[in-house]
């Protein structure tokens, strides 16, 4: 759940995104969080004219690399909504997610099974008026997401890694306030506003 609400990890954890400039924290984008905190939209807009951000490259955050695809056609897309948005994650409290990653549109449902088990149901969407080419484009871009996703693969295991890591520290706590302590909209995606927002809505609904 926190992984979906987290608007800044993608370009650090997922090498694929930033190598091919689908998502970089230095791109234009923003995060919108509603008043309850429970719903959010995180999006980024590609700006091909923008100068390469040298400061970003100097930081040597994992995302910069010389990794090349043998068949980059999977990253080719078509301009579907004419708004320049290349990536959008929209979440509705508590467990609904709508994603747009280029032309790969999908719904995710987060289904808790146990305190240490969660299912994520992926439904990939196409349209009846898609041409065969658009259909194939969406199917190829589907490789980016899902349980074998070039991007999503790390999301599948990172939660488990964190739980393994803190297993021996149940008596301790740590607090980091990224982007402040509120659950507010921001022009930068370098914030945990929507993660805090989720828990704000959770506490409100659970009477905590």
């Amino acid at each position: 759940m926190e992984n979906v609400k987290d608007s800044y990890h993608a370009s650090i954890l997922h090498l694929f995104f930033t190598t091919f400039e689908l998502n970089k924290l230095s791109q234009t984008g923003a995060i919108i969080v509603d008043e309850s905190g429970g719903h959010h939209v995180s999006y980024s807009v590609i700006d091909r004219e923008a100068q390469k951000d040298l400061e970003y490259a100097k930081q040597q955050i994992r995302s910069e690399s010389e990794y090349q695809l043998a068949d980059p056609s999977l990253l080719q897309g078509f301009d579907e909504y004419h708004d320049g948005v290349t990536l959008q994650i929209l979440s509705v409290f508590p467990t609904f997610v709508l994603q747009q990653i280029q032309n790969a549109i999908a719904v995710r449902q987060i289904v808790p099974r146990a305190i240490d088990k969660t299912d994520v149901n992926w439904t990939y969407i196409g349209f009846t008026d898609d041409t065969p080419e658009k259909r194939l484009t969406r199917i190829k871009q589907g490789n980016l997401v899902g349980p074998a996703g070039y991007i999503s693969m790390e999301d599948g295991c990172v939660g488990g890694f964190v739980q393994l890591g803190i297993a021996g520290a149940s008596g301790q706590e740590a607090v980091l306030e990224m982007g402040g302590s509120q659950a507010q909209s921001s022009e930068s995606r370098v914030t945990e506003a929507s993660v805090r927002g989720f828990w704000k809505a959770y506490r409100s609904n659970m009477g905590l």
Binding site: S65, D71, S73, G142, A148, M153
Partner: protein, 156 residues
């Protein structure tokens, strides 16, 4: 259908599995020829004719990229597979093109030794017979279950 075809296919399938299980992933794309189509899907999607796959490739390059991503980009818990492949059923044989259906079971072994049945399902294959060999052109992997535990890193 001849025994020879059956043997050619069984041989190709065994070599494919050995390649993945032995961690010789760089050779995996070489098992595909011609149209080079590889798709992993679920029985429910296959039955309903829904086309999207968990993995989809339609070129040798896309297969190579799968391997490069695993070696250089993606982060996942170190694991290995053991394929147990059943007998191929020859569905059709026509002018050197053979369709087959073969059941499989893949166990996943993690670093700490935990061994799970990771996936079971069927390979729907298209082979072209050339020079005494069955060359795999298309493989659709239909997993019986719609649930994948954690992630699917290594190809099935």
């Amino acid at each position: 259908m001849s025994n020879n075809v059956y043997q050619m296919i069984a041989r190709a399938q065994a070599e494919y599995a050995r390649c993945i299980d032995d961690d010789r992933l760089e050779e995996w794309p070489n098992h595909f020829h011609g149209t080079c189509v590889y798709k992993i899907t679920t029985a429910a999607n296959y039955r309903d004719g829904l086309e999207a796959g968990i993995i989809f490739a339609n070129s040798r390059g896309m297969l190579t990229d799968r391997v490069s991503a695993l070696r250089e980009a993606n982060i996942y818990e170190r694991q290995s597979y053991r394929h147990i492949i059943g007998q191929p059923s020859i569905l059709s044989e026509d002018e050197g093109e053979v369709h087959s259906e073969t059941p499989f079971l893949v166990a996943r072994i993690l670093q700490d030794g935990d061994t799970d049945i990771f996936a079971t399902g069927r390979y729907f294959d298209l082979y072209k017979l050339e020079d005494g060999e069955a060359k795999l052109n298309e493989r659709t992997v239909v997993c019986d279950s719609s649930r994948i535990d954690t992630l699917l890193a290594l190809p099935l």
